[in-house]
Assembly symmetry: C2
């Protein structure tokens, strides 16, 4: 990997990194030819290959290793499903329109940047030097540009305190509260000072119409999770009715961001990999917890954040679970597995922390949530969410569709349970309700325990109950105890029926990839303009660059032979037989993050030996083609170290690195 001593690398420059990523077509704004569409990016060949490798490792690390049930469900999703899941009502941000210019602002971002600008102006007025402090949020840096000039205006001390308190709670305000803040602090369009309309909710889902009549409203899914929940019964069945088990899905999801910025970190179409681990709410132990309990993680608990601090705790997963910092073994197991995955693909473990959500920032479905955050030049970025969605989703879908989504567990010993039951005097229903009788009966039979308890009391007290049944034209009916009886019944049950809870590790692949780009990027002090992407070999887009020393025809046959072997071994490689100097060719390749270079020279023609160069150390060794390829294979796919993998090859000294 990347050299670790400070002296070995020049200071990180986002500008340099972005220039490399663009020049080597890792990704680019989509539709650039047409002026681009913000929040949409295309991956070019190295980015696409990097992404495919990440997905391949993810699938092996999670799906294969843990025997998960992977599904591929549709992105088009009908209205009813997302209405039930809560996304139609709650999956939105607050936006404010400038009625004059038509410009639209995201309300929370606007309040934040205006108050921050004023605080900065206050500091300037007070003569306090404002440094470019590290950003905590991905979007701030770019967003700040909206507030063009910082005016040096001193604020009252109590105003400063108020602003700071507002900023600390910025993620927790409702639309109405944001509107009040805008009035109170006179927040307008920062560019023109024109007044804005009050915030209104903007749903972040892309809407479309399915079918030719246009009557079936649908959305592009905002997450892959719903498709997994809806298939719960089929998956449980496929798993031979065994619990716990996990499903998994890899696929694109969509969010119609109000004003996306920050490159790959906030986009409108993105690749997710999500796991839904279905577990008994009364037993969240994990069979393989022992395998990970000694792994040390960095935690940022909610209490610490609520006290205004970001002081982390480093401890083992075993400790975190036994102390109650992490709620249960299953959650702890996944945090450790997420850690192992991220570090395997190139995340710097010192720039990874697990931050617990505070109550006011939790998604509408979540009971608890830990984010794996990666530190980048944009601040700490949420890259993997690990939420306990409790029984929320299965319950709402089951209630809506009147279909059970439950686990039936045979009890080791029968249990005696008491519960309220309703009994209908069926022969009286037909004469009274005629064709509506089945609807009334169905409604009564589906009453929950909670409802039965309430109605039992009402029936005892008043002798009759009024029911509201929306399916009926009359709407409301009244029944007395000659129609229904409600009583506590005791019976022996052999099966326990429960709605499983869901632990959901959810990976934003694009954000992870961008963070790895930053964690991997460095410049050699002797050549700052040359970037190097020090990807672990397993995720590198190309594993080997073949570099014939010159264009001489004599070298062609051996290049072809090595190409054939690499292709057969399915090791991705490129040939660079351009006329450029060896040094230039390696520099170009450093930018693509290719871990190995194989140089073919005139010696190779004679004795079949070639030189193998390692990207980060620029160390070189020499040996027979088959031994060099064996070393590449072992280091790349079997996790062997460079020293171990090349111990039978000969050290080789050369000056090609300086050859420019």
């Amino acid at each position: 990997g990347k050299p670790t001593t400070p002296a070995a690398t020049a200071e990180f420059s986002r500008e340099n990194l972005e220039s490399v990523l663009k020049r080597r077509f890792f990704y680019a704004p989509a539709f650039e030819l047409y002026g681009g569409v913000s929040g949409l990016y295309d991956y070019g060949p190295p980015g696409c290959s990097f992404q495919a490798n990440v997905i391949d490792i993810w699938r092996k690390h999670f799906v294969l290793e843990e025997d998960m049930l992977e599904v591929d469900t549709t992105m088009l999703t009908p209205y009813e499903v997302l209405k039930t899941s809560g996304h139609v009502d709650k999956f939105s941000d607050w936006m404010c329109k400038d009625p004059k210019s038509g410009e639209i602002f995201r309300a929370d971002h606007l309040v934040e940047e205006v108050l921050e600008a004023r605080l900065k102006g206050d500091k300037e007025a007070r003569g306090v030097k404002t440094e470019d402090v590290e950003e905590e949020d991905a979007d701030k840096k770019k967003r700040k540009k909206k507030v063009k000039e910082i005016k040096a205006v001193k604020l009252e001390d109590n105003v400063v305190a108020e602003y700071e308190s507002v900023l600390a709670q910025i993620d927790g305000y409702s639309g109405e509260q944001l509107g009040e803040l805008m009035v109170k602090y006179d927040i307008k369009n920062p560019a023109t000072n024109d007044p804005l309309e009050p915030p209104r909710a903007f749903n972040l889902m892309f809407e479309t119409a399915i079918g030719p009549s246009g009557q079936l409203k649908g959305y592009l899914r905002p997450e892959t999770a719903q498709g997994q929940f809806l298939n719960f019964n089929k998956l449980y069945d496929f798993n031979n009715l065994k619990m716990p088990f996990a499903s998994a899905a890899i696929g694109k999801s969509f969010r119609n961001e109000i004003s996306p910025r920050a490159g790959l970190l906030r986009v409108r179409e993105f690749l997710m990999a999500e796991i839904e681990h279905f577990v008994d709410p009364e037993n969240k132990k994990h069979e393989r917890f022992d395998e990970v309990k000694d792994i040390k993680l960095t935690f940022l608990p909610k209490e610490v954040q609520q006290s205004g601090s970001t002081q982390v705790t480093v401890t083992t997963v075993g400790e975190a679970v036994s102390s109650g910092l992490v709620d249960n073994e299953t959650l702890g197991y996944f945090l450790a597995r997420i850690y192992l995955f991220l570090t395997k693909i190139g995340v710097d473990p010192t720039r990874l922390r697990f931050r617990q959500h505070m109550a006011n920032e939790m998604a509408h479905y979540a009971a608890d949530c830990w984010d794996a955050e990666l530190q980048t030049s944009y601040g700490w970025i949420e890259c993997v969410g690990c939420a306990d969605r409790s029984a929320y989703d299965l319950t709402v879908h089951s209630n809506k569709t009147k279909q059970k989504l439950v686990v039936k567990e045979k009890l080791a010993e029968p249990q005696v349970v008491s519960q309220y039951e309703i009994e209908l005097e069926k022969k009286k229903f037909g004469p009274k309700f005629r064709k509506d009788a089945p609807v009334v009966e169905k409604f009564l039979m589906e009453l929950s325990q909670e409802e039965l308890i309430k109605y039992e009391a009402e029936l005892s007290a008043a002798g009759a109950i009024k029911f509201t049944i929306p399916e009926l034209a009359t709407g409301e009916i009244e029944l007395d105890s000659s129609f229904i009886k409600i009583a506590l019944q005791t019976k022996t049950v052999h099966v326990r029926e429960y709605t499983p809870n869901v632990i959901e590790p959810s990976f934003g692949i694009g954000r992870i990839i961008y963070s790895i780009f930053e964690h991997s990027f460095y410049s050699r002090p002797e050549a700052v303009e040359r970037g190097v992407l020090s990807f672990p070999p397993i995720v590198a887009p190309t594993k080997v660059l073949l570099v014939p020393l010159s264009n001489n025809e004599e070298l062609q046959p051996i290049v072809k032979t090595i190409s054939r072997v690499l292709r057969k071994e399915q090791i991705p490689f490129k040939v660079d037989d351009s006329g450029a100097s060896i040094g230039k060719r390696y520099a170009r390749n450093d930018e693509l993050g290719t871990p190995f270079g194989v140089t073919i020279d005139f010696e190779s023609v004679k004795d079949g030996s070639v030189t193998l160069r390692e990207r980060d150390s620029t160390k070189q060794v020499r040996g027979a083609v088959e031994d060099v390829i064996k070393a590449i294979k072992e280091i790349t796919y079997e996790g062997i170290s460079w020293e171990e993998g090349t111990k039978n090859l000969q050290p080789f000294e050369t000056k090609v690195e300086d050859d420019e």
Copy 2:
């Protein structure tokens, strides 16, 4: 694979296949809990894994093997792009609405099924026995259900001839023509006989709005191709300006079908894998053509179809190209590579043909097109299109955006070329056109050779030319030869500039997968109710089933040991330690298409030997665990035959197959 002698397998039954696919959750209608949405399907674990394997092989067979530049571009696509590509105007089907019921019909399908029903009725009336003839089109069988009763009504001989002629040309009618046919033949809603509205175009793209203002209209892409074309310059640059080269993309595309049927064969959201091979229009030779020239393919040329026949020609690709049947080497090369890919993943080569498109069915962008069609119980299904899109797409995008999408080739020798050039008397433009002068100048400088030739003649003849310039308020201007001169100029050029042509192999992954399901499915004559899916090991969702003979605890350690080895070797496997009989467990597994079974018995505990069973032959061999795993690995991933792979293992006789 599947036994080939007719006696060895029972007759194919689609009903049985569908029952297996559903029971084993290969796929299922999406949102079934909510009643389903037609044309949307979810893949369950075995279907998803099968799909991932197909994609993995595709990527190795095409992208890696041929050094293609894979990209991942967005599905959301702005209106302008698809307007330019022609999809907004031409990517539609014709639909007719029944104003009374609101029901919507696809016009060509309706005409077809009504006329077919009448012809069938005529045959019945004439006493001709109508057999269930093999269907040529994927949708017909189910669509026919709309025409509920076939009335035995005799038709005039000339009417029969007319109907048959209409049916032969059904794919070529415009909406207006379909409307005329409906009037002429009195075609109404078959269920109610109510009149229908005339056909109108229904665009098959899903529409949505990008961003909060709702003003940026977008679509879900109907193909991945446009994203590749728009990145042409970046890809050409990434390829170090070398030609020819290919880009590739794997991803979902969308079609809002009017009334989707036929399961996975006609869906609204589907996975595509597309290649855009950019090639010099004057040189469509292919470097690796020699490697495939002796492969024999089955061709159905357009002339044969136009003569009303479906007689195929079997010949080598080399022959087909040299005789002109297939236009060029690149096209021929890809047809052969498509053949190799399809047969590798389980397509029956005797049920694969390459059908050339007739002129009237070609997509709006295509110059020539061959479909790889697979025979299924729904008829011959287009699964891979291989179109020559000529320079169509690059040209239209370049014209629209005024950005060059061309290749610049350094000429071996400078060439002297003559071309018309326009010269402006610039100092006269300012005074005459004032602020419009730059617009007028730009317009004139961008005139094409064809336009210059025409205007040169006009200018010579009339001394002045009228130009229509939409960007101007006045719209039209007139210029005489004091403003412009147009003349033939001769100059020496060192670079040839051209717009590459595109050869596009485009794979419908879902259709291929469904066809392989049919090609792989059989029932053993001794147990017809038991289905077997004889997938090649390389694509099978699970490679090995571990079957401990009983639940006895003694067998657990060896099951765990083998599991650990298989996991380390990344060979997907399942353990079936249910109490069911060995025979039942294997039967269940046959339905999942798992090629190998490994039985662990009490002998295994003693000497570490296990039994390996092959799915199709049900042959069994016995040996040490490591030798058995080695055999599985070689047969699955290295294409070794069963006989070769197991030659060092001992034949083993047992009666477990009958053990039910």
